[in-house]
């Protein structure tokens, strides 16, 4: 059962809790297939998103999830709020709590902000991405998608290609996949590899060809284009040559390997269009599954005894 009313990261979850969320999500996936895609359990609850970084897809996904659970959803717009007038993040969060919200979906460029807020708030805090720390609902929807295709996680080989050092998606997936018994490979240039990552139980590759060989799942990550100017990479072209997921490279993976991407994609930088749109791609399914998974998270956290 879920122990905490907050979802701060996958780090804090047990394998059992992860499976419980995924099982619940399949119930919601069924709901989403119906004509009436709405159920009533969070009637009267309100969900507020507080995003200090721009995001369209995650915010929209949470909004739909909340609404399909019959909760009210309000976006606290940071750019028009007092945050830019110098209000502290704690004051902003406490203000939202005083408005009577039950859930706060928070995204911030600084790692640890959801933890900071969870220490001062009564309401449930859900991490929608903090710095280079975690993006737990993304990893959960990725697991859900993998399970839908592979029927298991244990024993699979999952190759994650990209800017591991700055990727909270990679981190959450590494925790989730290793907790459930998958073999995880991380593939990226040494400049983008976080310190001592191998201690998390992953295999480190600098060669994409070697890293994707015989894997069951290939996950490519978005490359923030400003990495080039910071000296992590000589050029985006060279990055694509070395780490871009092309049809040729994908052939090295298992024949039935699936291709995933958390979006938004840079076509021609980390992934070739032919792969993104190809038969092995499950990228749009990930987006669909995101709603069911976020419904499950909201629903289960609402059921945790306060």
């Amino acid at each position: 059962m879920i122990k905490s009313k907050h979802l701060l990261g996958i780090k804090e979850l047990s394998a059992k809790e992860i499976y419980h969320i995924l099982d619940t999500a399949s119930g919601f996936k069924d709901v989403l297939k119906r004509d009436i895609k709405k159920v009533p359990p969070l009637r009267g609850k309100s969900v507020v998103s507080l995003f200090f970084e721009p995001s369209t897809r995650t915010k929209t996904s949470f909004a739909l999830a909340a609404k399909r659970l019959s909760a009210d959803f309000v976006n606290f717009s940071v750019s028009t709020s007092s945050v830019i007038k110098g209000e502290t993040i704690q004051d902003t969060a406490l203000t939202i709590q005083s408005l009577g919200a039950d859930f706060m979906i928070v995204r911030h460029a600084s790692s640890g902000v959801p933890h900071l807020l969870s220490n001062i708030l009564e309401m449930s805090v859900i991490n929608a991405g903090d710095g280079a720390n975690e993006h737990p609902t993304q990893a959960l929807l990725d697991l859900f998608t993998i399970l839908a295709h592979k029927k298991r996680i244990e024993g699979l080989t999952v190759s994650i290609i990209g800017d591991i050092a700055h990727s909270r998606v990679a981190k959450s997936n590494i925790y989730a996949l290793t907790k459930l018994g998958a073999n995880v490979r991380v593939i990226c240039p040494p400049t983008l590899m976080p310190a001592e990552i191998e201690k998390l139980g992953v295999d480190v590759f600098h060669s994409t060809d070697k890293g994707v060989k015989n894997c069951d799942v290939v996950m490519t990550l978005r490359l923030q284009l400003e990495r080039q100017s910071k000296g992590f990479l000589p050029s985006l072209e060279e990055y694509f040559n070395l780490y871009g997921l092309t049809s040729e490279r994908l052939k090295l993976a298992k024949d039935d390997a699936i291709v995933m991407h958390p979006g938004p994609m840079n076509r021609g930088v980390e992934i070739e269009s032919a792969v993104a749109d190809g038969p092995q791609s499950v990228i749009l399914e990930q987006v669909t599954n995101g709603i069911a998974v976020r419904m499950a998270v909201l629903y289960l956290l609402a059921g945790v005894k306060k």
């Binding site: 993040i89 460029a109 600084s110 790692s111 902000v113 933890h115 710095g131 720390n133 909270r168 976080p194």
Partner: protein, 424 residues
């Protein structure tokens, strides 16, 4: 009125004394040490039973924040925190607003500490004007005004030529140049030690190399110039090795570390407690061992506090945005005493590192209980346990990562220039 401190175990390595003696104070000076019962009568008796009576502690690395940041700390509150922590002398760093790079600021600090201070204050002047690494300050004038050393602490001297000139020029006055070693390009954006823990918490790391490359540079410059170099807040194993090697080659260098570098590891940062954010950052268990080894074998000469008080608003923020620094004066001795308990050093060595050696490095007549010395005396009950409670700090800075820690060794009384401070 004379004061007699009775029944305590007096330890003064400067005179090779360790035994039960009574200390007589007359005015602002020490009148003498007497064997039990031999001291003349005094107007006030302090009973130091179960306590050690040692030379007042000397902190050669303190941020008093005044002028300019009085909301973080003032000379009044900072020196009150000092005596509460057993320190009777603090040397204050120049990164105030304005920077202590002119005699006006130096004189202001000294006047203010005479008026409002509880302990002796010695200003450290800036090496370069505004700490910008562009032009040297007027060392002679500032020394005359009362500066005893120079440092751009808080900022490194990024320009190697400027550091060379500082080490050369300061030889005229035989004053130490205290180096804050940090390659700003390597540390840019970093908020904690770079390593496995920074990977786990997703915070940007500061590699050990950011400190070590500049330690190496400054040791080379020290060798080149024959200047008087002191390395501030050593935090890594690599720095310890570099300094050890330099000392073995006869380079005129001294070094300090701070209690947090031998009491904490970066794993604590998993809590995202911003009170753990300090520069240089708290390192790994491996580094902690190396720091202790360096203290033990003399590579590290001094324990300083790097007392860096902050207002709660500067700490109560997201980790990336919070200020660097630890309010350290009121926990430093107990944390250091733990090293004695662990067998890293004995009490004599500890008193050397936290009182006598810093006095020698800074060239001040402190750190001794000899006759006619300033009556700076710290009385500590080394067995008494206490729970750290920053809300009770005399310092305005409550930013301590040691909140709720149980420590041993309470400062019972501090005598600063003959004035007795005690707490209930």
């Amino acid at each position: 009125m004379n004061i007699l401190i009775k029944n305590g175990r007096v330890i003064d390595p400067s005179q090779n004394i360790d035994g039960y003696k009574d200390v007589l104070i007359k005015g602002r000076k020490i009148q003498g040490l007497y064997t039990k019962g031999k001291a003349p009568d005094a107007g006030k008796i302090i009973d130091a039973s179960n306590c050690i009576v040692i030379p007042g502690l000397v902190d050669m690395h303190t941020h008093l924040r005044e002028p300019g940041f009085e909301y973080k700390e003032t000379i009044k509150t900072g020196t009150m925190a000092a005596v509460k922590g057993g320190f009777t002398t603090v040397c204050c760093m120049p990164n105030t607003k304005p920077v202590n790079d002119t005699i006006a600021v130096t004189e202001f600090i000294l006047e203010r500490s005479l008026k409002e201070g509880s302990c002796s204050v010695y200003p450290i002047g800036a090496i370069t004007i505004s700490q910008k690494s562009e032009a040297l300050t007027e060392l002679e004038a500032m020394i005359k005004a009362g500066c005893i050393a120079f440092s751009d602490d808080g900022m490194p001297v990024t320009n190697s030529v400027m550091m060379r000139r500082a080490l050369e020029y300061s030889k005229i006055f035989k004053v130490p140049i205290i180096s804050h070693c940090e390659d700003l390009n390597l540390s840019e954006g970093g908020v904690m030690n770079e390593g496995f823990v920074s990977t786990i918490v997703g915070l940007q790391g500061i590699p050990k190399a950011a400190e070590e490359t500049m330690v190496a540079r400054d040791l080379s410059l020290c060798e080149l110039t024959g200047g008087r170099l002191h390395i501030a807040h050593v935090s890594t194993e690599g720095s310890v090795k570099l300094i050890r090697n330099a000392k073995s080659r006869g380079i005129n260098v001294t070094a300090e570390t701070c209690p947090h570098y031998f009491s904490l590891t970066d794993e604590a940062v998993i809590s995202y407690d911003t009170n753990l954010k300090v520069n240089p950052p708290i390192r790994t268990a491996h580094d902690v061992e190396a720091i202790k080894e360096g203290l033990k074998d003399g590579t590290i000469d001094v324990i300083a506090t790097d007392h860096a008080p902050h207002h709660i608003d500067d700490k109560n923020k997201e980790f990336d945005a919070a200020a660097f620094g630890i309010s350290g004066l009121e926990t430093a001795f107990a944390l250091s005493l733990h090293l004695v308990e662990q067998g890293t050093m004995d009490l004599n060595q500890l008193i050397m590192k936290i009182s006598i050696t810093p006095s020698k490095i800074m060239g001040i007549n402190k750190g001794t209980l000899s006759i006619d010395a300033d009556a700076d005396i710290t009385i500590i009950n080394p067995e008494n346990k206490f729970i750290v409670d920053p809300s009770k700090f005399a310092s305005k800075g409550k930013n301590s990562p040691f909140n709720k820690w149980q420590l041993k060794g309470t400062v019972e009384k501090t005598v600063s220039m003959g004035k007795v401070f005690e707490w209930k």
